[in-house]
């Protein structure tokens, strides 16, 4: 143990040794990075269901996974499995042999309308209405196959079954910060010596009518539907909401010592994570940004990184008027004048907001940014917002040597979580 590597607080160092990803840009890191580097959008008009009459008709759906009929559960699981397989390939880990806990951020397990309709129409007690009728259908026992859609343990269980992780699989929800929280949980498990490895996954596939309309009713979605690829405009003055999207990403975390001992390639270091809950409102952050600022400060403190060491920021950058303004103000409060020198871009300009999966997707993109020395752009940046003076890497990727990345994730329910990645320790 004399040669073991410890961080600035004497804790084991968590590193990333494998990554996998699926988004509307494609399956795998190569397709996704090619898209990001080219400034290509994966957003398109929704074809999964009719959208005429709806205010928002654009999404980043994943339509190439061969999941039919669509359901959030089945598509999320299929994407998560693809992401894990890719990550295991890179980390050179055998399927069914993963030596640590499984931590999954999963979308809501809920009734989708095709399920409710099936129960309603198949009920042996059509003389009743509403849930009495639905319950009579469930009592027949003919719909047990539907139970997976309603079990929050189901996606994690499917992954555990296939990839053989140790112990109870953990399912987590911190809304749109969930992906980042999985990395935080994995990092903490490694730091406390609970495990030498952790498999951290985020997946979301909730582009269904109710999934779209409920965000629309909260005025969260862009209504700039034409052309679809220009709907997401993070940090622009004419931004008007996010674009709902699907995706999954998986990261294999290991202790640096364990990774080195087995000769694994270190793709990056999880320097630190931090979180702070907001008590202002269920969907809005404190006007002074205190909770976001707190989360960023805690993250830098945990990572042992000074604000001026951050040389790229992977923004939460949803393209909502509120988020992008608050993210800027909070970063300004923490990074001060250094912020003017830090490029910051939003992957969501191209892949939309993958919600529960966003932190995982953006963690993979942050690490690819580090490794490739190329900053992915914020596309659709045609009308700068004078209130948000940032170098958003407008419209075209830019080569830059990056040592340390801050990735932000914020969610409904006052969730704020951030993570700092850097290259392999010298």
């Amino acid at each position: 143990m004399a040669s073991s590597v410890r961080d600035h607080r004497g804790r084991p160092v968590a590193v990333v040794t494998g990554m996998g990803i699926v988004t509307s840009l494609g399956r795998g890191k190569a397709e996704n990075w090619a898209g990001l580097a080219a400034g290509r959008s994966g957003l398109k008009r929704i074809t999964r269901f009719p959208t005429d009459g709806l205010k928002s008709t654009v999404a980043g759906t994943v339509d190439f996974m061969d999941v039919s009929p669509y359901s959030a559960h089945d598509l999320s699981l299929a994407m998560a499995m693809a992401a894990v397989e890719e990550a295991f390939g890179e980390a050179r880990i055998e399927t069914a042999m993963f030596p640590g806990p499984l931590i999954v951020a999963t979308p809501p397990s809920e009734f989708e309308w095709p399920l409710l309709r099936q129960l309603y129409e198949g009920s042996p007690e059509p003389q009743h209405g509403g849930y009495r009728r639905l319950l009579a259908a469930a009592r027949t026992g003919n719909y047990r196959g539907m139970a997976r859609h309603l079990r929050f343990a189901s996606i994690a269980d499917g992954l555990k079954e296939k990839f053989g992780c140790s112990g109870e699989p953990v399912s987590i929800c911190t809304a749109c910060a969930s992906g980042t929280t999985t990395i935080q949980l994995g990092m903490e498990a490694i730091r406390r010596g609970q495990a030498d490895a952790a498999l951290c996954i985020g997946a979301d596939a909730t582009v269904h009518p109710e999934g779209l309309i409920r965000f629309s009713l909260l005025s969260a979605l862009s209504t700039q539907n034409d052309p679809p690829e220009k709907a997401s405009r993070p940090f622009s003055k004419n931004r008007d909401g996010f674009v709902i999207a699907e995706g999954a990403a998986a990261l294999v975390l290991e202790s640096y010592d364990a990774a080195r001992a087995r000769g694994a390639t270190v793709l990056g270091v999880v320097r630190g994570c931090g979180e702070k809950a907001d008590d202002f409102h269920r969907t809005r952050s404190r006007p002074d940004g205190a909770a976001i600022i707190g989360a960023i400060r805690k993250t830098l403190g945990d990572a042992g990184v000074a604000p001026d060491e951050i040389d790229y920021i992977n923004a939460h950058g949803t393209s909502t008027p509120e988020n992008d303004k608050m993210e800027y103000l909070s970063l300004k409060a923490v990074l001060g004048d250094h912020l003017a020198r830090v490029p910051i871009s939003s992957n969501k300009s191209m892949v939309g907001h993958t919600l529960i999966a966003a932190g995982s997707v953006e963690a993979v993109f942050s690490l690819l940014t580090l490794r490739n020395g190329l900053l992915p752009p914020t596309i659709n940046y045609d009308v700068p917002d004078p209130d948000i003076p940032l170098d958003v890497v407008p419209n075209a990727a830019r080569a830059a040597a990056v040592k340390t990345v801050l990735s932000n994730s914020f969610g409904f329910g006052g969730q704020n979580a951030c993570v700092v990645f850097s290259g392999e320790p010298a």
Partner: protein, 410 residues
Amino acid sequence: MRETPRDVWVTGIGLVSSLGEGVEAHAALLAPAAEPAPVLDEAAFAPYVVHPLAPIDLSKQIPKKSDQRQMEGWQRIGVYAAGLALTDAGIAGKPELLDRTGLVVAAGSGERDTSVDRTVLEKLDGREDTGLLAKEILPSALRPTLFLAQLSNLLAGNISVVHNVTGSSRTFMGEEMAGLAAAENAVRRIVAGQGELFLVGGSLNSEREDLLLGYELGRNLWRGPFRPVWARRQAGGGFVPGSVGAFLVLEARAHAEARGARPYARIAGVVSDRSNRATGEARASGLRLFQSLCGALPRAQLPVLSGASGVEPVTGEERGFLDDLRAEGFDPVVRAYGSLLGHGVEAHLATGLALAALAVSRGGFLPPSGGLDAEHRLDGSPGRVLVTSFGHWRGEGLALVEAAGGGEAR
């Protein structure tokens, strides 16, 4: 077990259930002469039985009507119980403590508006136009606040808003495994020095047709006249949902001592695993967990608060596990607390931990509920309690609660 400054102390309990609210109402269930009976509603959701929430005055913990309106039942119950726990621990209203209290919640799906669903289904009935739902029906049927009642992390979010708990916020999911993951997460962080002060728990609103439907799809519910947990096997088993809000303040011993907080008990450990549930696997999983958690304990009477749901075959597996404890030289004195309070799913383990902490601090135990030989008399007072959690579908876990040494117990 050796005591350390990072012992996990229970310094606050917030409980609200079908049998009342607060520490004293639930401690009374453990008193020597207590003969508590379950409170049931067998009519409202027939053929299903539920344990309805006792009447509570929400404004005592959720003073603003606007906050109450922003929530649905499961959130109100949970926020109320969280407030009880914070008050009990002496944390409520203390910004310097709330600012660094970590929130760890176990949650399932929130609540749907069943009348909206009914209306939509009636409008869709027999219609073939696949676009009807999205373009005509849903936009007018749904309302913005519905979604905020459905999101799993919006119990935690509401606790932050109402009680100003802002140190951190994590919501675990996965039915009973959510409760295990939440407790395990907080305990491990305290033991590892990754945090000192946590509010841990969850809630269940049993009086919901959408909740019943979700579980009946898997044929997990008990139908017909009420029976205690162990007495349901012959009729196929099933669980009776019980409305409950259960939160605990868990605190590093040194932190509690420094602020003069007294412990109910200490949590000596929480362990969990997930078996495939082929015959015998849950039982074997439980025994492995027991050996890791309790292998060094004296072979003697061991009070057990069983979280058994009544769902088969896993409740039968837990019976086998309890038999195995006898083979290991222990004399388990078992109480399935779900027979009294119903099954709280995500909140069930936190309920069991709260009852266990009260049992060791007050020196009482639940009366037997019948249906199992191991629900026999306990000699003396429980110095420690094993809490079991065999999930109705997946997940096995155990927690050991012991009298806290050192501090002046409450």
